[in-house]
Symmetry: D2
Subunit: 131 residues, 4 copies
């Protein structure tokens, strides 16, 4: 996991598994969101507090390649990198690996931006710390 | 369903089913919440708008008896009654029946109250219309 | 919605909204999944029954462009098209529009395949009806 | 937390919060389920493996008293006790405390039983280890 700026460990919870007996594909965006918010916290930025201040961090595009499923009992790790795409947009590379053997489970790219209270693009200076 | 003030029809969505192949028990509180909010709307009260005004409708107690499971493909109905318990508290009886044969699936009792912005109990007059 | 083979109407449920007051981005994959499974049913294919038979329909890639958020009370429609990409893979175009004015909310592309019980790619003949 | 047989620590994930800015009441049953399944694992029982063997552990009744809400960023602990009610039924006492100060958040009672593949009550001997 040395290729990532930030990593976060998880364990599958059984309620995340669906009738196929694997983690439902819609739970991966949840894992990716939680990893992003913990990354923000590590940088001193609190997603909920930003929202209260009127800074809305939003996802504009998400791409996920599903390689292998996670199942009940699996431990896994989200690895995260961030890069700036444009003045207003940034992109997270977020990949999930099953632990301990680090099998690649999904590859994700999540593009985001910041909106102000009128939902207009706005990139407040406190976000500069992310890059 | 004649014994209920308000009823709302649903269909199971497959992502609500867990690895036992039945609707996960934590999805029933979601169904019950959605039925309550639609009941409020029918009465002219909008849960999200109330929240914006600083009126927080909250659940203080929930009891659910699980009789039979719902599975993929099932259609079902939530039947709802409301009664006032005290000046500040009210209770929803919310039962779920599988359709079309009306098999009882769960019996629920959800007690709630209203809090103001400082999270103090407060019962605004616009809620009187519910009873 | 004439450009779509299949459409399905929904209404936002308040529990799908997050602390930003909009539908959480991870709920859109749920809506898209439910629309796909209802489309399958219309074609005479039952996702849960296929799973029991050992035919696992799985998502291998998902791309979503988020254009506008849905909020509490919104009605919306998923429009769906399907096309075959290769012998083993197929792709759903799934777009969401807010109703009644048909504002584009998200554009989605979901690629899938079928796996047998040993999770090997296998395309059973009963799926031919989809194309 | 000395009054509990088993405890499990969690942190709120932002996607669990709803438009009131607090953890949605339907997420508590998820937390309680995950704590029960981790308790089972500690006892050498794997919920998913039991399901595959045809032993369905199911909830027959749930009571939750909501005392205080959890919000974004909160750490909390589920404390769990189990007792046998009858030959076929058992009950979990599951309470949630916010950390580090151990404010009581919810009090829960979850009654369960075991069903065989025909969904008939059956209490296999391997569950005796729980008591």
């Amino acid at each position: 996991m040395d290729d990532y700026t930030f990593t976060l460990d998880f364990k599958v919870r059984d309620y995340e598994c669906d009738l196929q007996g694997v983690v439902n594909n819609a739970n991966y965006p949840h894992y990716l969101e939680h990893a992003r918010h913990e990354f923000l916290l590590e940088k001193g930025l609190d997603f909920a507090a930003l929202t209260e201040e009127g800074i809305h961090l939003v996802v504009t595009r998400m791409e996920i390649d599903y390689k292998h499923p996670l199942v009940s009992g699996d431990r896994f790790c989200v690895g995260l990198n961030i890069r700036r795409l444009t003045k207003l947009r940034f992109q997270f590379q977020e990949d999930i690996y099953r632990l301990p053997e680090e099998t690649l489970i999904i590859k994700g790219l999540v593009t985001g931006t910041a909106l102000n209270q009128r939902r207009r693009p706005a990139f407040p200076s406190q976000l500069e710390i992310l890059f």
